[in-house]
Amino acid sequence: MKMLGAQIVIECLKREGVKHIFGYPGGVVLNIFDLLYDDRDIQVILTRHEQGAVHAADGYARSTGKPGVALVTSGPGATNTVTGIATAYMDSIPIVVFSGQVPTMLIGNDAFQEADIVGITRPCTKHNYLVKDVKDLARIIREAFHIATTGRPGPVLIDLPKDVTSDKTQFVWPESVSLRGYNPKYEGNRWMIKQAAHAIQKAKRAVIVAGGGVIHSDATKELKELAEFTQIPVIMTLMGLGAFPGTHKLALGMPGMHGSYYANMAIQNSDLLIAVGMRFDDRVTGRIKDFAPEAKIIHIDIDPSSIRKNVRVDIPIVGDAKRVLKGILNVLKEEKEKNQWDEIRKAWLKQINRWKKEHPLTYEYDENVIKPQFVVEKLYELTKGDAIVATEVGQNQMWAAQFFKLNRPRSWLTSGGLGTMGYGFPAAMGAQVAHPNKTVIDIAGDGSIQMNIQELATCVTYKLPVKVAILNNRYLGMVRQWQELFYRERYSYSHLDTVPDFVKVAEAYGAVGLRAEHPSEVEPVIREALKVKDRPVFMDFIVDWKEKVFPMVPAGAAIHEMIFGEEKRPKKEKKLRAVK
């Protein structure tokens, strides 16, 4: 059957199981949008900015495990997607972005709304395509979805010149994909798996560090089984939160710069570190030469280039986390009975418990000023942890990571690698589209929320009840924290002089706006917000602007060299304009 390029795009999307597209129209993609106008199977979510569309597709993907799709026009439409694509790339999120392009005969002519988006996104996509002939279109779309979702997932961009969408060709759906340069390795090397199992048997002070890869490969069950079977405590990186129940007695929280004291101490004192689907980011390792000095390192990752990139590895295993963990478990179960493990781990777990008591994750409650951590705790309490939580970037992100205990995978949306302010709100919106009946919360700062605040309109239009908790301190809080601690309290351009009245902003868009200025108002505001089911809610929490995220590993320090809140220098706060 002969079809137009635009029809082929839509037919391929349907065959890939796509139900939602986050998009923004423009000249060169009108052929596609015209067909979407009366399509019954695919719903288009019209965002208010292309960056919002890509973050939404990303949040959709993180919360479902299915690829998110965005459709934008050429030139500025395409360049506006770059931050979203780079965010997804750093966190290995499967999204497929379709960008319009000027007609093939105009490419290179500096035509109106022309941008070399394939060139621009080359270093931040897993792969990208410029479709030059409608005959290649179906194959390319098929390949794009395959590449985005297999191996180490990632974003793929397809650039569609306008004439390609209006040209006709015979539609042929490729039954399979064959790419001779792309064969991800899923099975781990069996000898290495055995080595890993033996190392686990020999180790006295073992610790697991789980990353986002555990979630991508759906290995949470295997991870839990391995941890419980061998009684090895589990640390989760920022991307790995939710991979292992946060309330489990073997869970030690997050490592690294703002990790828990006990997670960092466990790593530094371990004799075996089992890294699963994580890539030893500098925020996790601190000063690399003093990272886990006594540990043998097992590194399981599907991406060979992650292994030995930052740290030395004793037992590298390239493969899918789920299969490799299963393999290790099988070897262990064959060779040793469970009861011995408790004995082996006794001293180690006892030591860890001592660390937990020494420096628990905590903050000083204040009855007159709202502490931001208190807001996060209350959100956790009142949702009973049953929510999808998005964050922006900065203090809000770290407090959310520390105090919202996640028990399920795919319920945590945060820009870990790129650290994109403005990510959380549109990502939460994307997750809400995929899960209309779930509570979706964005924990935000007053700085970050203003970076994609326009998506309020999208949420109102599609009746998406995203709850945004703004920890409003009138500062770029994390910047302020660094300035206070490391830049002699010179608060250079981190004070946001003018912050809008978020309640009025919400109301202006037709959303609900609520405010809490006193700790006693926090709970009622959250309760009120949770009742709203048909529109977004902004909760404006006026929080203590002096509050900092602790513990903290200063840049360049080893991860056991943490500083804590109570150690801060005697109060000599410079007179700064007080908040409110």
Partner: protein, 161 residues
Amino acid sequence: MRHTISVLVENKFGVLSRVAGLFSGRGYNIESLSVGETIDPQLSIMTIVTTGDDQIIEQITKQLNKLIDVIKVVDLTEIDHVEREMVLVKVAPKQEDKAEVLRLTEIFRGRVVDSSPRTYTVEITGDERKIEAFVELMKPFGIKEFVRTGKIAIAREGVKR
């Protein structure tokens, strides 16, 4: 250490910039790079000469392998192989030196591919040492122009890849 890496890639537009972008984006350096079609016109081979310690070379190989359009990466440095490079040198010797230039060209098994009343253009093929030696010998006569292809390399037959 210096490494010669042979990369088999899809012969498509944009592949060169993916490879070059990988090197520049990650701060690796390229000493020379040459690209050409293989017998199969759908494929090309890139020969890249780069430097770095073992860890960097390992990363370069792995990152190259990650590119979808890269089919195979072989670090030829680890195996017995033949390397060749070609240069074209335009020399402008004085009248009395012309014979010497031609004699040296012959010793190096080069060829004069163009001549004018004032210049000879000499083609020399060989490994790096030979080329460097020839260029050093030509310098005193006055090199007007000089171009080189960059290295190409191939494994010796019977060598396990």
